[in-house]
Amino acid sequence: MNTQNQNGYMLLYRTDEWYNRLSHEELQKLIGQNQAWFERLTAQGKAKPGRALERRGVIVSGRNGRFVTDGPFAESKEAIGGYLVLDVETIEEAIAIAQSSPGLAYGGSIEVRPMADECPLDVRARELAREEQLATV
């Protein structure tokens, strides 16, 4: 994997709502830790505002989006709970930041993904065009 990326990284929080199992005190402590963690990253210019997602939604699929089903299921460990965009240049730094996330101690996981500056479809189309050009030389 290319470990350098100028477009930043996205942290996708995957959760099964583990926070519902915490006591009031634990929850309060974690909120404080999270806030301090995020404020530090923001002050360092490493994090941009993220968003939390509501625990409900639908999945659209099929031609013209004719299938609309409820999802994701809240109890799924794979459901995305929110995201954060990191303005750092290497995947190692993005991983280190993900590892320092206070909530990980309680459950869930964080997916670290390099952001693309252009659509992978465009890149592939260009590659194919180049191959064709070479073939005709």
């Binding site: 990326n5 995957r14 929850l27 509501e54 409900r56 939604g57 993900a98 996330s101 964080i110």
Partner: protein
């Protein structure tokens, strides 16, 4: 489901392997359609952000903060990119999701309301309500 949301909606595009079976012409066509779709939504003020993600990545999980490879490229569930929409109703967001040019090729679009605050904070409020009741 509450169908109004002032915080907007997120579209998560699932599947990052669906282009493999397309011809170069089909790929070009769907790329152009996708770009034109995003440009139109941006011009209309309905899309405020959007980004494709590289197909590779890492997953960090558990108390020991273990790092593993993922998501698997061939997964239909893998997230390939997102749009952030500034529309006020779920129906608007759904109608936009249904326009996604990748749908005929197997892409799935997850439509999620953006939350006003961190779910930890809402859980805390929820608990406090019960405690006071």
């Amino acid at each position: 489901m509450n169908t109004q949301n002032q915080n907007g909606y997120m579209l998560l595009f699932r599947g990052n392997d669906w282009t493999r079976s397309l011809s170069p012409e089909e790929k070009q066509k769907v790329t152009d359609q996708w770009m034109a779709w995003f440009r139109r939504l941006t011009d209309q003020g309905k899309a405020i952000a959007g980004n494709p993600l590289e197909p590779e990545g890492k997953i960090v999980s558990g108390k020991n903060r273990v790092v593993s490879d993922g998501p698997f490229a061939e997964s239909k569930e893998a997230i390939g990119g997102y749009f952030l929409l500034d529309v006020a109703s779920f129906d608007d967001a759904l109608a936009i999701a249904q326009e996604c040019p990748g749908l005929p090729y197997g892409v799935q679009v997850e439509v999620r309301p953006v939350a006003a605050e961190c779910p930890l904070a809402s859980e805390l409020k929820h608990e406090a309500q019960f405690a006071n009741a």
